[in-house]
């Protein structure tokens, strides 16, 4: 593993590293305009170690030199083929390169002299092959719900068509898989889903029409070009949470990553380049604090992303002090700020969901006008289990009928006056389906108060001639408010919200959490004794187990985290450094090993290499025993070296016998008398022949058989009988000019066998021998090959 430290600028020997502008400043004479502070996070010691990321896409080239080190088979599956190998299907157009490209951005190995460097270059990377076949609700549900206790981050860079006329989202199974993932995944901390926001800039698409990126469970990531300008493909959207770099115009610098067939590319572009970058940055934050919940991750992003030099004409500061835009969400992600925030993060209070159903009065939407509906929300203040005071996501569930869906634009204004556009006009959307209970989402009100007047506005702007006799109708809408009843941030989480200054890397002095009068809910892992704050580190006593962090903080957990074992008195103690699970802290008490180490089942210890007599089982991270006679082997059947006194025959080790004998399985037995050396009892098992015998087709003979000739050449170390050319019946040497006799219907002519049919025909022709052929001979025309063949008998006849 490659470690970074100190204030020096980073250098890797990977050939593309100098061109990876989005990871480091190439020009040290001037400060960077703005970057994602990846190096800053690395220098704090975070490289994604022990964080598992999987790419939901068309497969992953697990043999790629930049991916093989970090590839994790437990984070990988082939949903299309229903097996465990997610290798992409190769075709001439390299159609299935996408997943491999995304994977490299997250976890390409560093300093291996090959291609590129991943943002989390020590993270484990897997791939779920699910786009190379029929995609169904079930395929998607299997993918987003794959191994949720093992995989921490799922990165998806796909979705419904961005053609500007599609409205589609997760069907019931996938919705449920998302919900189950955030509720139960990662041992209850929640799976983290990263999603590429839409690519439909040129088709005037709007990412609110993509129910995946628009979901509260996904972290929707958009892109900015190096210049900070909007790339041509980018969609605007109120559900976009944050931004990373991607390729832009032809003159902008490009994103470099791994490519199919063990290559690298600088052609990766679109929001597909951005989402895995975000996944990599989140992996760094999860290494800094593995106990961040799925909501903590979103909160940390909201608080650390910054507008920087990103240009948009709609940047605004909401009532909670967060700067936000429809193009970039809360702005460019900042890896160093995220790991710093993660290190000291206190879990946000429990999420409340408040559904506010507005009046169901149907309102007609007149062409070229707007419908406004105002609803006074209480934030469910009368219900403590649903009370939302501080907002996170806001969802508006709408049913609208309309003769042309693309003519609609929808806005929502919060009680604090933050106006976000839930839907823009879509030039190509001619659908008459309207929206049926479609959920629009905005993050623009994050941190604001929920109670007060919310205003929904629906605009109808006819883009072409339409039948105005059937106007659109706003049938119903409801507000789903997500958030907390108490302030989400403890004082330890507090720092200036608007626009972090890049150079201010000094941590704020952390304060103790002052909670003498805390009366809020306790973490579910606290026992009945109570707590002095909302997190699992505020319990007065734990329900199940606890472990201590470096700063001596005690964290309550339902089961011990990886690398720990259940010790006495509810305490999780650390395993030996190389163990992933164990029964004690000694090096010989491991049950499984960390990635890169192999468990020796005999000694219960973990090592990077297996001793002699064992081989590495890469799938199970085990050192398994070779078969009895092997000194080293590649698997249980294939010896590569033998124990003393044995010799390797193929892949098996057997007893070595002296010349003239072979090993029969019990003892060394003499070879057949024709053989000098042999592999068995018969004359046909000779390896070399005895004196006076010659090798002929694998057996030793005294004289060469018919159709064989004696070869003096010693070409293979000994004299042998070789088969005559196919045209000869017998021969005296190689080739078709050494025949000594011919098959029937062939005539021997100066060592060659010639088909005799022409000659026979000539003798049977009406031209008698005495007429035509005699003339040929008399005139010395037999030298001519054609006539010689035609009159062969006459020409060869003496006299």
């Amino acid at each position: 593993d490659f470690e970074l430290s100190g204030a020096q600028s980073t250098y890797f020997n990977d050939p593309k590293w100098p061109s990876m502008w989005y990871m480091h400043c190439s020009d040290n004479t001037h400060p960077c305009q703005s970057d994602m502070n990846i190096e800053g996070a690395w220098k704090r010691g975070y490289t994604g170690r022990d964080v598992v990321v999987t790419i939901l896409d068309d497969g992953i080239e697990r043999t790629h030199p930049d991916l093989v080190k970090n590839y994790d088979s437990q984070a990988s599956f082939d949903v299309n083929g229903n097996d465990f190998d997610p290798m992409p299907r190769y075709d001439a157009s390299n159609e299935n390169k996408h997943g491999t490209r995304c994977a490299g951005e997250v976890a390409a190995a560093a300093n291996n002299s090959h291609c590129t460097v991943g943002i989390a270059f020590n993270a484990k990377i897997g791939g779920v092959r699910m786009l190379d076949g029929d995609v169904t609700d079930m395929v998607e549900a299997k993918s987003v719900g794959f191994n949720p206790q093992y995989v921490a981050i799922y990165s998806a860079s796909w979705g419904p068509d961005d053609d500007g006329k599609t409205v589609d989202g997760p069907a019931p199974l996938t919705r449920q898989a998302f919900e189950t993932g955030v509720r139960l995944g990662r041992r209850g901390l929640g799976s983290v889903f990263v999603w590429a926001s839409g690519n439909g800039g040129r088709s005037k698409d709007h990412c609110s029409c993509d129910g995946y990126t628009n979901s509260i469970y996904t972290i929707s990531i958009s892109s900015t070009a190096e210049s900070g300008k909007k790339p041509w493909y980018l969609e605007e959207c109120s559900s976009t949470l944050a931004t990373t770099y991607s390729s832009g115009e032809s003159y902008d610098k490009k994103i470099i990553t791994t490519d199919l067939r063990q290559r690298c590319t600088d052609n990766h572009t679109g929001t597909s380049a951005s989402a895995p970058m975000a996944a990599g940055i989140i992996a760094l934050a999860l290494e800094a604090n593995p106990f961040l919940t799925w909501r903590d991750v979103q909160h940390v992003i909201v608080r650390t992303s910054r507008a920087g030099h990103l240009s948009a004409n709609d940047w605004k500061i909401n009532a909670a002090g967060f700067k936000v835009s429809h193009l970039y969400g809360f702005g460019l992600m900042d890896a160093e700020a995220m790991v710093m925030e993660a290190e000291k993060w206190t879990t946000v209070p429990q999420q409340h969901v408040c559904v506010e159903s507005t009046d169901r009065q149907i309102k007609t939407i007149r062409p070229s006008s707007a419908v406004r509906s105002i609803y006074k929300a209480s934030g469910c203040s009368d219900n403590p289990n649903h009370h939302v005071n501080y907002l996170e996501h806001v969802v508006v569930r709408i049913t609208i009928t309309h003769p042309r869906r693309g003519d609609l634009a929808i806005y929502l204004t919060s009680p604090s006056g933050t106006r976000s556009q839930l839907l823009a006009n879509r030039l190509f959307d001619h659908s008459m389906e309207g929206f049926k209970n479609w959920e629009f989402m905005t993050i623009h009100c994050w941190g604001e108060k929920a109670a007060g007047e919310w205003m929904l506005e629906v605009f109808d702007t006819p883009s072409q001639l339409r039948n105005f006799k059937t106007p659109g109708k706003l049938k119903e809408w409801s507000l789903v408010l997500y958030g907390t009843s108490i302030p989400p941030y403890s004082p330890t989480n507090d720092f200036p919200r608007v626009e972090r200054v890049r150079s201010s890397r000094v941590e704020d002095p952390t304060e103790d959490y002052v909670t003498d009068d805390y009366s809020g809910p306790c973490d579910p892992e606290c026992s009945k004794v109570g707590c002095d704050g909302p997190g699992p580190d505020h319990c007065n006593d734990c329900l199940h187990y606890y472990y201590k962090m470096k700063n001596n903080t005690r964290i309550c957990v339902s089961s011990c985290p990886p690398g720990h074992y259940h010790a006495d008195k509810k305490r999780c103690r650390k395993c030996a450094p190389n163990c992933e699970s164990c029964i004690g802290s000694h090096t010989n008490q491991c049950l499984s090993c960390k990635y890169g180490y192999f468990l020796n089942e005999e000694t219960s210890s973990c090592a990077t290499t297996c001793p002699d007599g064992f081989y590495q089982d890469m799938n199970k991270n085990l050192c398994r025993k070779c078969s009895e006679n092997c000194r080293t082997c590649t698997d249980s059947q294939n010896c590569t070296e033998c124990k003393h006194g044995l010799s390797l025959h193929g892949s098996r080790c057997t007893v070595t016998c002296e010349d003239g004998k072979y090993y029969s399985g019990k003892d060394c037995e003499p070879c057949h008398r024709f053989c000098a050396t042999c592999s068995g009892a018969g004359a046909d098992t000779c390896i070399t022949c005895s004196e006076g015998y010659f090798m002929e087709d694998g057996k030793c003979v005294q004289t060469c058989s018919n159709s064989y000739y004696f070869d003096h050449s010693l070409e293979s170390g000994y004299k042998s009988c070789k088969r005559c050319a196919a045209t000869c019946l017998a021969c005296s040497g190689p080739g078709d000019r050494n025949c000594t006799s011919c098959p029937s219907n062939y005539l021997l002519d100066t060592g060659a066998c010639i088909l005799g049919a022409i000659c026979k025909d000539a003798t049977e022709e009406s031209w008698a021998e005495g007429s035509f052929c005699m003339l040929v001979k008399k005139n010395n025309l037999c030298q001519r090959k054609v006539l010689q063949q035609l009159c062969c008998k006459t020409c060869t006849y003496q006299g």
Binding site: D134, V135, M138, G145, G159
Partner: protein, 87 residues
């Protein structure tokens, strides 16, 4: 208006209470193969029927459809192909 045709596959998602054995029993009874649980979704199973059309614009109607009348089948859905685009 765009006319979108649904394409039905010969795969089903089924919710069955009673565990894997019960799901297998019901699958066998109606000629399905139980491929296994759907991801982490408890009681949801992936059923496959090799004797129905692999892709069809009509939903499948045969004796196997009576599976929905089994008391332990809480929910069943023939899977439909979705268009998904890499970004």
């Amino acid at each position: 208006p765009v006319c979108r045709t649904r394409v039905y596959t010969n795969h089903w998602a089924v919710k069955i209470a009673g565990g894997f054995q019960e799901a297998n029993r019901i699958a066998n009874k109606y000629g399905f193969i139980n491929i296994g649980q759907i991801g982490a979704l408890k009681d949801y199973y992936h059923f496959y029927h090799s004797r129905t059309i692999k892709r069809s614009v009509l939903s499948s109607r045969g004796t196997h459809s009576f599976i929905s009348m089994e008391p332990k089948v809480e929910w069943i859905q023939q899977q439909v192909v979705k268009k998904r685009i890499k970004r």
